[in-house]
C-alpha cells in the first residue's frame, strides 16, 4: 500500500496526459471550449456592444468575465462526457483492477478540467487583449481572479462528475451544462441588471454568476470588490462542497 501512495501523483500525471491528449485530438472540444467563447466575445463587442451602455469605458473590459465563465461552463461539460465514456468502455475496469490508487482515475479527470479550462481562459484573455481589453490590475488582483476562476471550475467540475457518472447516454452526460452556460446571460455579465424588469432583475442579482462576474470585473479594473467577493467565494465553495459530497456518493455506488 505504501508504494501505491508514493506513486499517487505520478499516476495522476499519467491520467492527466491521457485526457489532455483526448482534448487536443478532438477538434470538437477545442472549437466548443475556446473558439465559441471567442466568437461570442467578438459578436458582443462588435455587433451588440455599440448599443449596450455599461459603466466601463470599454465594453470588452465589461464583458470578459462573463465570457470566461461561459468558456468554463462549456469546458466542464466535456469532463462529464469523458468520464461517461470511460465508464461505458472497459477502460475504467482495467484501471481499477491495476495496482494504482483507484481515486487517481477520478482526480485525473478533475485535474484535466482545471488545466484545460486554465488554458482556454488564458487564450481567451489574450484574444481580448488584442481587441482592446486593458487592465490596471496588479499581480495580487490577477492571482485573486485566478483563484476565483479555479474555485468556479472546481465547483462546476464536481457537478460534471455527478452528471458523467449518473448519465444514461452521451447526450445526457453533457446536457446538464446548458442551464449553466445560460446563467451568465441572465446576470450582469453582458448588460447591467438595472435595465431588467423586476423578477428577472431579482433573479439576476442574486444568482452566483453576478457576484462572481462583479468580483472579477472589480479586481481587473482595480476597484474595491466590496461584499461581492465574499458572496462569490461563498457560492463557489458552497457549490463545490455539496457537489463533491454527492459526486463521491455516486462514485462509490457506481464503482
Amino acid at each position: 500500500m505504501e508504494t501505491i501512495k508514493n506513486y499517487f501523483f505520478r499516476d495522476m500525471g499519467v491520467m492527466l496526459g491521457r485526457s489532455m491528449r483526448h482534448i487536443l485530438r478532438s477538434m470538437d472540444t477545442i472549437i466548443t471550449v475556446t473558439i465559441m467563447p471567442i466568437v461570442f466575445m467578438l459578436l458582443f463587442v462588435y455587433v451588440f456592444g455599440g448599443a449596450i451602455q455599461t459603466s466601463t469605458d470599454n465594453y470588452v473590459n465589461y464583458l470578459l468575465p462573463g465570457i470566461l465563465l461561459i468558456a468554463i461552463a462549456t469546458g466542464i461539460s466535456y469532463t462529464a462526457y469523458r468520464l461517461f465514456i470511460d465508464m461505458q468502455r472497459g477502460i475504467l475496469e482495467r484501471f481499477h483492477s491495476m495496482p494504482i490508487a483507484r481515486s487517481t482515475v477520478l482526480w485525473g479527470h478533475v485535474l484535466t478540467s482545471l488545466v484545460s479550462n486554465a488554458i482556454s481562459v488564458i487564450i481567451i484573455i489574450l484574444v481580448a487583449v488584442i481587441i482592446g481589453f486593458r487592465s490596471s490590475a496588479g499581480i495580487l488582483s490577477w492571482l485573486s481572479v485566478a483563484c476565483i476562476l479555479s474555485l468556479f471550475t472546481l465547483a462546476l467540475t464536481w457537478i460534471a462528475v455527478i452528471a458523467g457518472l449518473s448519465a444514461k447516454s452521451v447526450d445526457g452526460a453533457s446536457a446538464f451544462s446548458y442551464p449553466i452556460i445560460f446563467l451568465p446571460f441572465i446576470s450582469s455579465a453582458f448588460v447591467p441588471t438595472e435595465s431588467m424588469p423586476g423578477p428577472v432583475r431579482i433573479f439576476a442579482e442574486n444568482q452566483p454568476v453576478t457576484s462572481i462576474v462583479e468580483t472579477i470585473r472589480a479586481l481587473l479594473s482595480n476597484q474595491p470588490a466590496g461584499n461581492d467577493i465574499w458572496i462569490a467565494l461563498a457560492w463557489c465553495v458552497g457549490i463545490m462542497i455539496v457537489a463533491y459530497i454527492f459526486a463521491m456518493r455516486v462514485y462509490k455506488k457506481r464503482v
Binding site: I4, R18, R25, I91, R94, S97, M98, P99
Partner: protein, 255 residues
C-alpha cells in the same frame, strides 16, 4: 496440490445483486500455469466471478484467494499480480496502440516504460498500426491490443472474459494462438467463454457454470465421460460457414 501451485481458490462463493441471486455457492481451484475455462451461457454469472476475482466486486460470502492473497483482505497484492481483459475491449480509442501500451507500462511503474512496447507490438502483429489511433483498428486488432496491454509487467495471472465474443473466425484463431503461447510461458490463464469448442481448444480444465453453481468440472477427458455415450450414425456432413470461409480465405492467401 500444494498452496504454491494453486493460483485461484474459490470456496462457497455467493453473490446477489439486490434481489437477484447470481452465485449460489461456487467452488473451484485453478492450478498455477494452467488454462482454466469457465463455460456458461449468457447471464450465468461468469463475469460476476471474474469481477470478484479481479477485486472489482466484493462477494457476499465465501473465501476467495488469488495468487495466495485474499481478495477482500489484500486487494492491492491481488491487483499487483493479475491483469484483467474485460468483456469489452478496455483500450483507449483516442490514443494510438503504442500510447495505450506505454500508458499501462507507466501505471505499472516499470522502470523503463518504453522498453516493452516494441516487443509487445511486434508479438501481437501491431507494429504497422502502432502509431494509428485505436478507433481505426478492426475488432481483432482491438482484442490483440487489449491482451497486449494485459501482458505489460508480466502478471502471473491473466483474466480473459469472453476474449473471442464478436470476433470473426480468423481473429478468433489468432486469439487462441496467443492464449496457448501465454500458458506455454507459465502464465496462468482464467478464461470465460460461451463456446464449448473454445474451451476444448484451449483449456487444461473446464468448469461449467449453470444457475449460480459449478455443475461439472474436470479435464476435457473427464467431462467427455459424462457426456451421453457416442452413437454411430451415418450422416452427410455439410461444411459449416466457418469452414467454408476459412477454406476460401486460406486459398487466397496461398496465392
Amino acid at each position: 496440490m500444494t498452496p504454491n501451485e494453486i493460483a485461484i481458490s474459490v470456496q462457497g462463493l455467493k453473490k446477489s445483486y439486490k434481489n437477484i441471486t447470481v452465485l449460489t455457492g461456487v467452488n473451484f481451484d485453478v492450478k498455477a500455469g494452467s488454462i482454466f475455462a469457465l463455460l456458461g451461457s449468457n447471464g450465468a454469472g461468469k463475469t460476476t466471478i471474474v469481477k470478484i476475482l479481479s477485486t472489482l466486486l466484493k462477494q457476499d460470502s465465501g473465501n476467495v484467494t488469488v495468487n495466495g492473497f485474499d481478495v477482500l483482505l489484500k486487494p492491492g497484492n491481488v491487483r499487483q499480480s493479475i491483469s484483467l481483459t474485460g468483456q469489452f475491449a478496455a483500450v483507449d480509442e483516442v490514443l494510438t496502440g503504442r500510447e495505450n501500451i506505454v500508458m499501462i507500462a507507466k501505471l505499472r511503474h516499470l522502470s523503463n516504460p518504453y522498453q516493452v512496447v516494441d516487443d509487445l507490438l511486434k508479438r501481437f502483429g501491431l507494429t504497422d498500426a502502432a502509431d494509428r489511433r485505436v478507433s481505426t483498428y478492426s475488432g481483432g486488432m482491438h482484442r490483440r491490443l487489449d491482451i497486449a496491454m494485459s501482458l505489460v509487467g508480466k502478471p502471473q495471472l491473466i483474466f480473459l472474459d469472453e476474449p473471442t465474443t464478436g470476433l470473426d473466425p480468423e481473429a478468433r484463431i489468432e486469439v487462441w494462438k496467443i492464449v496457448k503461447e501465454l500458458a506455454g510461458n507459465g502464465t496462468t490463464v482464467f478464461l470465460t467463454t460461451q463456446y464449448l469448442e473454445e474451451a476444448e481448444q484451449l483449456a487444461d480444465r473446464i468448469a461449467i457454470l449453470h444457475k449460480g453453481k459449478i455443475i461439472v468440472s474436470g479435464t476435457l477427458g473427464e467431462l467427455k465421460k459424462l457426456f451421453p455415450p457416442a452413437k454411430v450414425e451415418y450422416i452427410e456432413k455439410q461444411p459449416t460457414l466457418e469452414e467454408i470461409f476459412l477454406a476460401i480465405v486460406g486459398k487466397k492467401e496461398e496465392k
